[in-house]
Symmetry: C2
Subunit: 332 residues, 2 copies
């Protein structure tokens, strides 16, 4: 009897906590761990498609106060309209292109993101992908394991990173981290961005075609939005030139993948290092067949240290919001 | 008749040029190109084992004035004793462990090397191998191509480069280039070397075990000699610890590969990025089977720019020597 009443008390006390709906892949609930997970009433939809879950839990959903979502799980107008009490969206991703920010703003829903948690890892990955492509590291590793006894003479010569003209598309936190690293490799940095940054001396190009014309390498670090979707198209690739390399650690849809494949087949582009793709998980036969492209599974943020960091950050954002304190990493 | 006499004159004039014996793999002769190749009488042994070639060409060999050799082709006491007129060895490699420097010194034979031609490329490769191992880039690329539809959640988490304690073994030109690059990744650099360098502020450890104890990563950049052969043994690996990573861009024999394999199988080491091996070309089944090791075919120098650079450098060294000018990149 004592146990039952304790359980009931516990249930009652959980019910009184702010309701947080998890909107992510299986296993996503591990993102919210004690002590933070104990401070909220967690609704976990991972076992059901979201619309089923919402239909089955209408009584709870009407009082959902926050959504914690993954980058691959959209926060649409439709979803927002099903959650009338929603006041906060926390996304565990650096990008926010999956969140309808305008609709959130209109409804007075605050949004918190990953802040700069992943910036260093993503920049590290960008540099590694770039060196990998131009020095053919993954390709050599794969060949060595398949055909033993090969020496460097069995491989085409790579290219030198030192002195390369690197155009950074999007000079936010990640772009700046990439620039900082590549300066140590004596690369010449220039950039394209919505506007010229007063705090850096790198040459600025207002047009990405112009940036490509003046670069050996493009590193994509910008946000995905209506202005940037498929901005890296055939025209940009031709401007970059036959030996040109594209590294994408931002969002897959920044690149017109059909144009990339065509330019590749026509020998109009030198290589690419891609951590992100138009459709993820990646399942594009043509991309798998390219031999001067290094593929990575949207892994720019998947280090143990950053995972621990994002677990704490999402918890701290939720806690701050419901304690009427400023968000730790606000988006809007 | 006119043609024949021209040919004879040409042959006669070639015979009067300084004789340079090429000691390298098939295709090695492409290293010495015009205008330099026209200034010497080139003896190319590539089609025959060297001792056969020397036996068949005793009349020429007695007057060989210079040897141009590749890093994999030793200049031994035996070879030196077969070339009584030898005055110069030019090696196209950064390392000189294949040249018996003591015997050269004794015989008054000068030696020229690759100088710093490859330093930047080798440092770039060291950084790329390090990020590749800790962020599992080649491994992910290989998996993605084999099993479609994978996402980052299908891979173990990597580790963050930022803040890693990197111990550099050998703080010569390459070691300094590695340190400079890794500072831009906010790594904490320390080093082991024959002696403390007065011009850097990085912490110095006179013992490589002590360096390993205080590091997450070891990057090997030192020369191979009797003091350094197999210096990276089980004791060093245990000091580095279970999560530790070893990157070797110097010489394979710096590492005791048997100890590396054993430590790997026992889970005593985190991973390795290896551009060089005890035996090259690499043909070690056990190494091929390791999944947190990135393999590269001694490719630290194989960029187009560096190849062009070394072609010019070996030619310029030969030209300088036979014009009684100082060597461009002297070793002794």
């Amino acid at each position: 009897m004592a146990d039952r009443s304790t359980n009931e008390e516990q249930s009652q006390s959980i019910i009184n906590l702010p309701k947080v709906l998890l909107h992510g892949p299986p296993g996503f609930s591990s993102l919210l761990q004690p002590p933070y997970s104990l401070k909220f009433h967690i609704l976990n939809n991972a076992s059901l498609p979201l619309h089923h879950f919402l239909a089955n839990h209408a009584h709870l959903c009407s009082s959902v106060a926050a959504v914690l979502c993954d980058g691959g799980y959209p926060i649409t107008t439709d979803l927002l309209s099903l959650l009338p009490s929603l006041r906060l969206v926390v996304t565990s991703s650096a990008g926010t292109d999956h969140v309808d920010l305008e609709e959130c703003r209109r409804r007075g829903v605050r949004v918190a993101g990953a802040g700069n948690i992943f910036s260093q890892d993503v920049a590290d990955l960008a540099v590694a992908l770039l060196i990998d492509v131009i020095m053919k590291i993954s390709a050599a590793d794969g060949c060595l394991r398949k055909r033993h006894g090969l020496s460097w003479r069995d491989f085409p010569l790579g290219s030198k990173l030192t002195g390369k003209k690197v155009g950074i598309v999007g000079l936010g936190k990640i772009g700046l981290e990439v620039a900082h690293r590549l300066e140590a490799f004596d690369c010449m940095i220039s950039y394209n961005s919505r506007s010229k940054k007063p705090f850096v001396s790198y040459p600025f190009y207002s047009s990405v075609v112009e940036l490509a014309t003046n670069s050996n390498v493009l590193v994509l670090c910008c946000a995905l939005n209506d202005q940037t979707r498929q901005m890296i198209n055939r025209e940009v690739m031709l401007a970059l030139g036959k030996g040109g390399v594209i590294v994408n650690v931002a969002r897959g849809a920044l690149i017109d993948e059909k144009d990339l494949l065509r330019c590749w087949l026509e020998g109009e582009i030198g290589g690419a290092g891609l951590d992100v793709f138009e459709n993820e998980p990646l399942d594009c036969e043509e991309l798998f067949s390219l031999d001067n492209v290094v593929l990575s599974p949207h892994a720019g943020f998947s280090t143990l240290e950053s995972y621990i960091g994002i677990c704490q950050l999402v918890g701290r954002n939720l806690e701050a919001f419901f304690s009427n304190k400023p968000l730790i990493s606000p988006v809007i």
